[in-house]
């Protein structure tokens, strides 16, 4: 299933430049460009060739890892992506780390204390996390920790301190979703007979939860982590813009502003393919967590 989906994604990305109203080359160069400049750019983008030839060339380029040349930077798109990818990966994984670090204990506490004060506090915090858009949470955190307290830098990159606010901003929504999922999943497992059996064999409540129920409750949680990776990746677009973090998301927005369509296509394709790959990886991870699930 992954291959047809990837082909579909590639086709959609290819179609993007052809959706530009009017002449894409003219749109990239602006109103002041001469006819000669426009036709030169059309040739260099391959837009003067028949659509089928363009599509075949696009797919052939993808197979070779060639995403074209950036119009603004005059460098291969892949080089731009390669330069920014480490920053985005760092931010995405830091955000997921933050999310898991907050969510799992919160979810366990909520499940163990179901219907009591800690449960309500944890779940209210989770609901707030889901409802708070990251383009609001980010500036709020910046106002508190950078402007008022002066503990952290408001934007940029280079040190671990620069990573804190973007990672927390990006991880907050995922953390909220994970906490709710951990709670629901753990509550379900705690109702299972094997937990009762473990308790009746004399295992302490803590041990029964952590050694038995928690491990089995991880399957849907891991699914959500995997499936939410796409949301984290796309979330980097806004987070990087807020905090001027030099990653792929910011590169994409800059490319859009400069009408650098090859770079826009490259960034979108790369993020989408990573998203599909993460979903596939999530499916494969089930097998490790639950030996009953096997793929032929």
């Amino acid at each position: 299933m992954t291959a047809p989906v990837l082909l579909g994604v590639a086709t959609l990305v290819f179609a993007l430049i052809h959706l530009v109203p009017g002449d894409p080359a003219q749109a990239m160069l602006g109103e002041g460009a001469t006819q000669e400049e426009v036709s030169k750019l059309r040739t260099s983008l391959g837009l003067d060739r028949p659509l089928g030839v363009q599509y075949a060339g696009f797919l052939k380029g993808l197979v070779r890892g060639d995403l074209g040349r950036s119009f603004r930077y005059n460098t291969p798109v892949t080089q731009q992506i390669r330069d920014k990818l480490p920053n985005t990966a760092l931010l995405a994984f830091a955000a997921m780390g933050v999310a898991i670090a907050f969510a799992v204990p919160l979810g366990i506490i909520a499940a163990v204390f179901k219907g009591r004060a800690p449960d309500y506090v944890a779940m209210t915090a989770a609901l707030a996390g889901i409802s708070m858009p990251n383009f609001w949470l980010g500036p709020l955190l910046a106002i508190l920790f950078a402007v008022y307290l002066g503990w952290l830098p408001v934007s940029g990159s280079g040190t671990a301190a620069h990573l804190v606010l973007p990672a927390v901003t990006l991880g907050a929504a995922l953390s909220a979703i994970l906490a709710r999922m951990t709670r629901a999943s753990l509550l379900e497992e705690l109702r299972e007979l094997y937990v009762l059996a473990a308790r009746s064999r004399g295992l302490s409540g803590k041990r029964a939860v952590l050694r038995h129920a928690f491990r089995n409750s991880l399957i849907p949680v891991v699914t959500i982590i995997g499936l939410q990776f796409g949301a984290v990746l796309t979330g980097t677009i806004i987070t990087e813009t807020i905090f001027a973090w030099p990653g792929l998301g910011r590169l994409l927005i800059q490319a859009i502003n400069y009408r650098d369509y090859p770079l826009v296509q490259g960034c979108i394709l790369f993020i989408s393919v990573t998203y599909v790959a993460m979903n596939l990886l999530t499916d494969l991870t089930y097998g490790f967590l639950d030996p009953r699930i096997r793929y032929d």
Partner: protein, 264 residues
């Protein structure tokens, strides 16, 4: 939950309908001499970077948010119900073709596709609705397809078929009504998603363009004044968060009502 959500949504609708009329200020009138002024009795949410009343602009922005949400949900749900019911009821190759399109669009991170479409079509309110509808219908289609697959096996549907009713009538009269409660829940939660997505696009400069008072655009303008005027960021963001929470509450509450499994 249902009541709290309903209250928040109704309050926002009232704010959108009557707020700009009740307010003594015009959302676009500028008082440059008083720019970035902090909240006060005469301007409870303060003034923005051009000296405009933020509360009045939030009330006007509510119109844009609700309008975009309503437009996206309407277009997406109608398209989704059509394709979902056709795929589920007819099955076979039609189902295969529609399901593959759904798979591809589902594989695409939604907001990324919206960003891509607005990037090439150009930033405007209409293009935002178009882009969000292109990604929005898929969720409804998948939901309705599942319901239609079940519904076509129901005895009353088979009876209608045996009596010679045409497929269009069966889908419209018998299959779609079984999916309707789930669609209403999805649409309510979809309003929250559409409002956040519109604000995100406007925040990135790809949605509603200034001077129109979109909440996302207002937040974007506030970014340059985090140090000297944080109220530019705090209030528009609060409006988005509260309305989204309202629709989430309403959607969750409705889901609990229509889905007996979630009732405890």
């Amino acid at each position: 939950m249902l009541r709290v959500g309903g209250f928040i949504v109704l309050l926002t609708i009232a704010l959108a309908l009557f707020g700009p009329a009740i307010s003594p200020y015009d959302p676009s009138s500028q008082e440059l001499g008083r720019r970035l002024e902090s909240p006060s009795a005469s301007h409870p949410f303060g003034l923005d970077e051009l000296g405009r009343d933020i509360l009045t602009r939030i009330a006007s922005g509510a119109r844009i948010s609700l309008l975009v949400g309503l437009a996206v949900v309407s277009v997406s749900s109608v398209l989704g119900m059509f394709f979902g019911s056709v795929a589920g009821y007819f099955g076979g190759r039609v189902d295969d073709a529609i399901s593959r399109i759904i798979d591809v669009l589902m594989a695409f991170p939604g907001i990324l596709l919206a960003i891509a479409l607005v990037a090439v079509l150009g930033p405007s309110l209409v293009n935002v609705v178009l882009a969000l509808s292109v990604i929005g219908w898929v969720g409804y289609a998948r939901l309705v397809r599942g319901q239609a697959l079940r519904a076509r096996e129901f005895e009353f549907v088979q009876a209608a078929r045996a009596l010679g009713a045409n497929p269009g009538r069966i889908v419209l009269k018998h299959v779609l009504p079984t999916a309707f409660p789930a669609v209403v829940v999805q649409a309510t939660l979809g309003m929250a998603g559409a409002i956040i997505a519109e604000a995100s696009l406007s925040f990135l400069g790809l949605g509603v363009q200034p001077p129109a008072p979109s909440w996302g655009t207002m937040l974007d303008a506030g970014r340059s004044h985090l140090f000297d005027a944080p109220h530019l960021t705090i209030f528009p963001g609060m409006a988005i968060a509260v309305l989204v929470l309202g629709f989430n509450f309403l959607g969750d509450g409705l889901r609990d009502r229509v889905d007996p499994k979630t009732q405890r």
